[in-house]
């Protein structure tokens, strides 16, 4: 995570118009993608999923304000997401009951205020220290709020949660928010606004000092900053954006339950941010999109989806701690540096060896699930365009042989080859 700490520095000098244009266009691309996505995704479920992606992007970015920017590992960030969501839901129900004139477009702001409120309360007690102490306090607060969700059923609606109807409030622009597509656009606009703000926040004095406090809290003190206050402000801001995400979430789902404040949700946002890459602004965005996609789609494809999920995470932590976005970024940098030209074949070779290994591993896992979990293991099993009998030895032997072969090729031949290719480049 130490690759691109304060990425603003390089362009520190003048702020000419051309730089602004260059800086602006990635955002324009994002806008265009967000606009066009519903043309590709037309089903209601698909629209809900991409709306969830938008929500998760805000949530994961807010999480990264803590972990990536300030070095605070939180196991309870969902508290602010969920409580923000509940605040917004109560407002929605109030609108439904009384006809109060708050437009739907502004409902997420109520969520943000909820996140802000609880961020102030819990932030005050938890940001005195960083590191393990902070992590454990966040865990404790998360568990406490979860436990209290069944105690204060008036607020949390018990285990059944609370429902609302997003068609009840008026719209600022006269939009009908019944159809999922219109809700998606609302999410997209908010996600973009939130992302821009969070991007700019990284470049403010507070954002810089958050990095400083993460790397060297002591030095930060000796330039006049209280690390606790820096953490506190970052924490409160992160909680506010988490609350905003929660407020949007209830607009999409029209239901909120206590699982939104729970450990699983907190774990999910941590996974999203980390898998994407916490050292990059866009890392959590990639992670959020991927995690929502996998959570939503993988489960309908395979029984083993939680195992794949866990393995993916472990693999990222072990082999790509800079995150998937970080890996991609490195490859692009390497491409720019011309390393690809001389190592293209070696790269292709190593990547395909690894790919073969992963495919064989998937085959093994799928077969194991078939044999151990299917009521009738003898039933022919479709696997990679062929149909096999998972109870016979042959497919297993083939898979294991392929796995072992691919690993051997990778470690004994491909990797040394790749190293040599890269080294020779440095020498030249």
């Amino acid at each position: 995570m130490n690759t691109t700490q304060v990425q603003t520095g390089a362009a520190a000098g003048g702020v000419g118009r051309s730089i602004w244009v260059r800086r602006l266009w990635p955002w324009l691309v994002a806008v265009v993608i967000a606009m066009l996505l519903p043309l590709l995704v037309t089903s209601n479920h698909g629209l809900t999923m991409i709306s969830h992606m938008g929500v998760m992007i805000i949530f994961a970015l807010s999480y990264n304000m803590l972990l990536g920017n300030t070095g605070l590992l939180s196991f309870g960030h969902a508290v602010y997401f969920g409580l923000g969501g509940y605040m917004a839901m109560h407002m929605l129900r109030y609108i439904e009951a009384t006809g109060f004139g708050m437009p739907l477009e502004l409902l997420p702001v109520v969520g943000a205020l909820g996140g802000l409120l609880f961020g102030l309360i819990f932030g005050a007690v938890s940001t005195r220290r960083a590191g393990v102490v902070f992590a454990m306090i966040s865990l404790g607060i998360g568990e406490m709020v979860t436990a209290s969700s069944l105690m204060f059923t008036g607020f949390f609606g018990g285990e059944a949660g609370l429902f609302g109807n997003r068609e009840a409030p008026v719209s600022l622009f006269g939009i009908d928010y019944g159809p999922g597509r219109n809700v998606y656009y609302l999410v997209a606009v908010w996600a973009l606004i939130a992302a821009v703000i969070m991007f700019l926040l990284r470049q403010t004095p507070l954002g810089w000092m958050a990095n400083a406090v993460r790397d060297n809290p002591e030095r930060a003190q000796f330039v006049g900053y209280s690390p606790q206050m820096v953490r506190f402000f970052q924490f409160v801001l992160a909680a506010t954006f988490a609350g905003l995400a929660g407020g949007l979430f209830i607009v999409v789902d029209e239901i909120i339950t206590d699982e939104t404040v729970g450990m699983i949700q907190s774990g999910l946002v941590l996974l999203s941010a980390y898998i994407g890459g916490i050292g990059f602004f866009l890392g959590p965005v990639v992670g959020a999109v991927l995690v929502v996609f996998l959570e939503s789609e993988l489960s309908s494809i395979t029984d083993a989806w939680l195992l794949y999920f866990g393995l993916l995470f472990v693999a990222v932590v072990m082999f790509a701690p800079q995150g998937l976005f970080g890996v991609a970024y490195q490859q692009v940098m390497s491409w720019r540096a011309g390393e690809w030209v001389r190592s293209f074949h070696a790269r292709l070779y190593a990547t395909s060896a690894m790919l073969v290994f992963v495919l064989a591993l998937i085959a093994v896992i799928e077969k194991a699930y078939h044999v151990l979990r299917h009521w009738n293991p003898q039933e022919p099993m479709p696997l990679f365009f062929v149909t096999i009998d998972a109870t016979s030895m042959v497919p297993w032997l083939v898979s294991f042989a392929v796995m072992a072969g691919a690993l051997a090729v990778f470690f004994l031949h491909a990797r040394p080859l790749l190293r040599r290719a890269l080294d020779s480049g440095e020498g030249a």
Partner: protein, 251 residues
């Protein structure tokens, strides 16, 4: 030279468990003087700095900065009251560039505090001051290099730069020339002399050449006590000092 007292230590002690490291230090440092603290290894010089800068809390005694008590305050509060320090072991934001390190050091003193509604890059005053500092530190060419990739001497220079950036009225420098070659050390001394024309300097130093060259006054710290505090000439002549320190270490 004004006779106002910049830094006053009274009966300062510090114990670690049963070990007494600082054993009742009284010291008055006048505004705008260059005051060097010398003493054998383990005399408690760094501990004294840590007490003054708020990194450690004193066991007893008081510390006053321009007449205001600062003992017991956290380091950032002390810093905001106009006292800035450097470290013996380079202590920078290693992942940040030279420019970023200097800007971070400037933000508070330029009144930006915890602002999250303005961008660092659009603060012209901060940028200009940082560029000015880099110029003085001879680091302009390296402004986009992360601190961790600088040479040792450059890191020391940046360390000093980060310390003086805020324009503190009292500077505490902890062995700024440690580990440097002769020419590097000379450059450093020149730099220090230049930047401390209108502020108070308290410095720990081993290199006696540097000490006598730079100091207006010298205090000698031995086993947690100040045994002498006077002009360089007087200290040089002081019998107790010669016995306790110079006699044993200087040939």
């Amino acid at each position: 030279m004004s006779q106002e007292t910049a830094l006053a230590l009274k009966g300062l002690t510090k114990n670690f468990g049963r070990a007494e490291i600082i054993r009742g230090v009284d010291l008055d440092i006048k505004a705008n003087e260059r005051h060097v603290i010398i003493g054998p290894n383990g005399a408690g010089k760094s501990t004294l700095f840590n007490l003054i800068s708020g990194r450690l809390e004193a066991t007893s005694g008081t510390i006053q900065l321009f007449g205001r008590e600062i003992d017991g305050l956290p380091p950032h509060r002390v810093n905001r009251m106009g006292l800035s320090r450097s470290f013996q072991v380079t202590n920078l934001f290693q992942n940040m560039t030279v420019m970023q390190n200097l800007r971070c050091a400037l933000l508070w003193s330029k009144g930006h505090k915890y602002a999250f509604w303005k961008l660092v890059n659009s603060q012209q005053e901060v940028t200009e001051r940082a560029e000015e500092l880099m110029e003085r530190l001879n680091l302009t060419a390296k402004q986009h290099v992360p601190a961790s990739l600088l040479t040792y001497a450059e890191q020391r220079a940046l360390e000093i730069g980060a310390t003086i950036a805020s324009g503190a009225k009292v500077l505490l420098l902890d062995e700024p020339t440690a580990g440097m070659s002769r020419t590097e050390a000379d450059d450093m001394v020149e730099l220090i002399r230049e930047i401390t024309t209108d502020c108070t300097l308290v410095m720990v130093e081993h290199d006696l050449g540097v000490v006598f060259n730079l100091a207006d006054r010298i205090s000698v710290l031995v086993y947690g006590e100040v045994i002498a505090s006077d002009t360089p000439e007087a200290v040089r002549a002081n019998a107790a000092v010669q016995e306790a320190y110079l006699g044993t270490e200087v040939h």
